[in-house]
Every structure is written in C-alpha cells, then in structure tokens.
Symmetry: C2
Subunit: 256 residues, 2 copies
Amino acid sequence: MTKRGWTGEIRILPLAVDGEIRPGDSLSGRLLAAAKRAQLRFQDGDILVVKHKVVSKVEGALVALDEVRPSAWSRAWGRRFGVDARVTELALQESRRVVRQKSRVLITETRHGFVCANSGVDVSNVDGGRHAVLLPEDPDRSAGRLRAEIKKKLGVEIAVVVSDSFGRPWREGLTEVAIGVAGMRPLTDYRGRRDPHGYSLHATVDAVADELACAAGLVCGKLAGTPACIIRGFPYRRGNGSGRELIRPAKYDLFR
Amino acid sequence: MTKRGWTGEIRILPLAVDGEIRPGDSLSGRLLAAAKRAQLRFQDGDILVVKHKVVSKVEGALVALDEVRPSAWSRAWGRRFGVDARVTELALQESRRVVRQKSRVLITETRHGFVCANSGVDVSNVDGGRHAVLLPEDPDRSAGRLRAEIKKKLGVEIAVVVSDSFGRPWREGLTEVAIGVAGMRPLTDYRGRRDPHGYSLHATVDAVADELACAAGLVCGKLAGTPACIIRGFPYRRGNGSGRELIRPAKYDLFR
C-alpha cells in the first residue's frame, strides 16, 4: 500500500494507563484496559506505538543503582562532569562502542546497534532515582509479543512500534525514534518510482516508523502518564519488519 | 500550555491541492481552496504544516538547470560519481560550508545554518528535471506570511511549520524537519521540572516542531499531491518561534 491517491485523515489516539506499570505486569492487558476506559477499540490496521520505558519496566529491564559498582573511569568521569557515575557505568556496560565523549555527553552504540546518549539508560520517570531503566533486550521481540497478544485477545491485526527519545547531531531537542517494530515495513522506498512529472526519484527512502514514533510523541508526553497511543488511518505496508532496518550500517555511515 | 493532564486526540487532516503550484500563486489561497474542497475549516489553534517545496515554488526559488555553469570541481565530482554537476554546483552555491563529502553524498551547511544533503537543492517533483528548487530564502518569513494571510482571511490564529525531508547520521531513511516556524515555540523544555516520582528532568527538551513535521510527513507524501496538512488538537505553546532555534550551534555540536 502506498501514499498515492490516498487522501484520508490520520488520528492519534492517546492511551492513558491507570497507575504505575511494574515488572511482571501484562502490558497488553494494561493497554487494553486503557483503551476501554477511553472507549476505544483496536481496529485492523491500527498502529500501536509504545514508549520503550513501559516495555522495559514490565520486562524487568531495571537496575538498582545502589548495586552498580562504577569503574575508576566512570567515577572519574562522574566527578569531572557532575554526572552519576553509576549511570555512566551502566551506559558503558550496555554499549559496544563509544561514538563520542565530551563534557557531560556520552554517545554510545548500544549492543543492539542504536547510536544514542548513555546507551538509552534513563533514570527519569522510573522511581525517583533508585532504579535506572535499560532499553529492552530485544525491542522487536517486545513489539512482536504485544502484536501477538492483541491479535490473540481481540482477533485484530495491528502493527506495533516501540519508541524512545533520541538526540541527534546538528539539531536541538529530542525526537522519537522506532527501536522495535512488528507487523509493518519501517521504511518506504520510492527509489525507481517516478514523480508526477516523470522524474525518477533517486534517494527517497522514508523512515515511516520513525515518523510514526514522532507523531506518537505528540501525545505520549514525558509527564502525562500516557505511554502509548493508537495511530489510525495510516496505510502502512504490512509484513515483517525490524527496528534494526532503521540503523544505518557503520560502513555507510559518515559520522561514526 | 503543556502536555500535563492532557488526554485529547490529535488529527492530521491532509490538504490536497488541485493542479500544479506555480511561481506567483497565492499559497494561502490554494490551501484554503484545498481545505474548502475537503470540507475543512481552519480553527483557532490549528497547526498548518507545509512542505517547503510548494513554498519555494510560489516564491520563485527555482533555478533553470540549463543556466547553471558548473565549476571545474563540480564537473569533476559529477563525472566521478555520476551525479548532475549542475545540482552539485547549486548545492555549493547555497552552502556556507561542506560538512562531509564522500562518494555521491555531499552534506553541507546551508546559508541558513541547516545541515543536510546538497543544501536542500532538489529536482524531484518540480518539472521533470528542467528546474531545481532551492530552500526558501527565509523559511520563518514564509511561515509568518502564511500565518498572517490566514489570520487576515479567516480571523483565526494558527501556527505554521514549513518542513523539508532530511537524512540524518546513524539512521536510514529521511524524516521531516521544521525549517520554518511561526506562531509557536518549536522546542518544549522540561528541564527543571520533575517527573511524577519527584525526579528532576535534566536533559529533556523536545523538538515538537520536528515531531509535528514528521506527523505531517505521514500524509504529505512524495507522490500524493498533498503538500500540506492541518494538525488539530496539539496543545502547542504559542508565541514567537523560529526554525533556527532547532539548529544546534556549531560550538555545541559534536558532529560538525
């Protein structure tokens, strides 16, 4: 399915969960309860976008900061820049490579291959600084599980995107990116197609899963207790897809 | 206005224009006609997102490729990598600095300060390869003009975002970014605020104008004749804003 000739509206429908999400909770159960309270019913072709933090929480991807033993390097870094050496230590443990390190900023390549600050290790919106939350072990698998559970419970085929907020070079502010994907192709490739004037489109691959994550970011706020939303009306291409397709291979990357 | 406690739906309403947009056309007139055909009425608080290409077209930011005289450097580059030397020449003319050059890819800093491929010079969706379209001379001014014209014609206060599709390091595919902004603050700053657990949010600035541009990118397709959309229901912070606020100053940038 493509965008050609398609003139429909897209809706972004927030899912506000009731109370805290904890390790071992059924995330699909919590989100279905949220949908029910909002008088929403999942429909075939919906896209469920979920912030990774609640995924990590239910999967137990949490670390008690008291139990982290920072290395000498992490302690020195923490002292020098006034950052928590335990978070730095976790960021290094979760990384396979440091891409940049300068003053407070530590940009790493995570063991999944994502390039982001502190390997995505985050202490906000967890429990006031006692635990850090890590990225899910396999965000595609997390997305696939949610998709399968919703299919099983409701009988509808949806796509799922697990998102995180990443910084980026050259531009200020964070935007959402898709780190896990299920049930859709995350990239739309226009190469080889022609525009209405017959001009061949050379370099046009759209990161639709990242654009969906950003759209979701408009309602899934940092402070709103809304960790997920349904995006309805976007004609995505169904099929197997992975958040890893959105990672540029290092050998083609000019900034690594 | 913030996201706190806000649980509403966001709608993305495409505006499909009838026929080609040409230099000298009234863009606000064309978009209002598109809205009318779609039985849409602009409302106070709407955000109009417009792809820069139609802005550049009405403003006459077009160059006949036949009249471009490529330098020896551009000709050599074009021969070596099989790219159009005239487009390379324009990209260099529109730039104030080359950030990276490798095989076919030329990443520049435009005279506005945006870092992107080929200074945003584009030949697709223009007229089959005879003209190239440049970025608008002052995208904020373009956004401000649209905002003022719609206020004058309809009496409603809206925000306007002018967008373009940029590539980015580390990730595959293009996503939309806001290059011009009017009537809203493009960044939402959570620093100094606390999450529901009392943890202070350190590094959390959201590039909401870029997320709005991405949301719009879901309907403003490369091939669909839909250069603009209305985003309704997002509680943006009103006020003066500029697309330049989204550009990280070179001295804080680790990748320039």
